[in-house]
Symmetry: C2
Subunit: 202 residues, 2 copies
């Protein structure tokens, strides 16, 4: 499998972690977001959305959207399981995953921050305030909802953990004060010590 | 089941459609976003994220995040199926669903538009330009990826359709020119004629 990848993309980072956890053979195909390569014709022929990541299977088929890739991996390469067996527990894990992937990350990725600076003419300071506002809202809720001390849900790794760690990396990069979120910090510290996460990190 | 609901919320609208398609018994519990009721203590005790929708099951358990509710409904009330049987087709449907739910909707919901006007001091015109920018990017890609003429994927209703229609409603409300997206318009027109969609509409 080939992963169309950008090292700092949180969405691509999620998929790298899952590919490692599932012990799959994969190669990275770098797409340079800083050069806007993802909006070029060659990449758009593969993924009209012009976003990373995308996964090219050995059959040549392409799956776009990080969460669609994660769910496909879970269905086709079920070991180790990253979703619990019980439906209500699965809903809980997915709810935490979406809290990151639908309510935090989309507001803080590169294209949005660039638009705030470029088209809207905001300062670096205003951009950071935007970032911290949405991340703070999202993390405050997550801090109440995760269980810990080692995983977001129960005593096993799940897709919620796979989504949390890239967001924590990103938060540190943008200098968010993490002191109000001790459970998120503890979970993330544990996860970041695991080999699959270490090898996936930017 | 009780759905904590706001009539104009696109995320809640998705769940109303799915509940209707699955022919389930459910009641609405209105949460007034304009009065910020979703951020009040009573609602946050149910859903720390302070967002609609949330689904309270007859057992009392609560599921948050619209996509987690959709996946739970699909697992626990599988008829009619809203995901195809084949794993690659499921990935394709989910990719379309996430294109709406992770890349379009989060940038254009009420809380973000309010922040642009309030905290960032933008005009109504700049707010609309923001809205049209992100919706235009997202819809241009979706227009290439959907199949049509009646459904986003293949010849059956799916979760991609459940997510598309609320976004189309929202786009019309914010006066996006839909002429560049004839396939999205055709699919949406067909879907909006179906009873489950009619009864779920704002």
């Amino acid at each position: 499998m080939e992963l169309f990848d950008y090292i700092r993309s949180s969405a691509a980072f999620r998929v790298r972690i899952a590919l490692n956890l599932k012990k799959l053979d994969w190669e990275t195909v770098p797409v340079d977001l800083l050069q806007a390569e993802q909006r070029g014709e060659a990449y758009r022929a593969l993924n009209p959305q012009g976003l990373v990541p995308a996964l090219r299977l050995d059959s040549g088929e392409i799956i776009t959207q990080s969460l669609a890739i994660l769910e496909w991996l879970e269905e086709c390469h079920p070991e180790p399981a990253l979703l619990p067996a019980d439906a209500l527990a699965r809903a809980r894990v997915r709810s935490l995953m979406y809290a990151v992937a639908c309510d935090i990350h989309p507001l803080n990725n590169l294209r949005v921050l660039k638009y705030l600076i470029g088209e809207l003419g905001h300062s670096e300071e205003e951009k950071l305030a935007w970032y911290h506002h949405w991340l703070g809202l999202g993390f405050a809720a997550l801090e109440q909802q995760v269980q810990g001390p080692r995983y977001c849900h129960g005593d096993a790794l799940s897709l919620a953990d796979v989504c949390l760690v890239p967001q924590m990396f990103n938060a540190r990069r943008f200098e968010l004060d993490l002191a109000p979120y001790p459970r998120l910090v503890a979970i993330s510290q544990h996860l970041e010590s695991l080999d699959a996460f270490v090898r996936a990190a930017p």
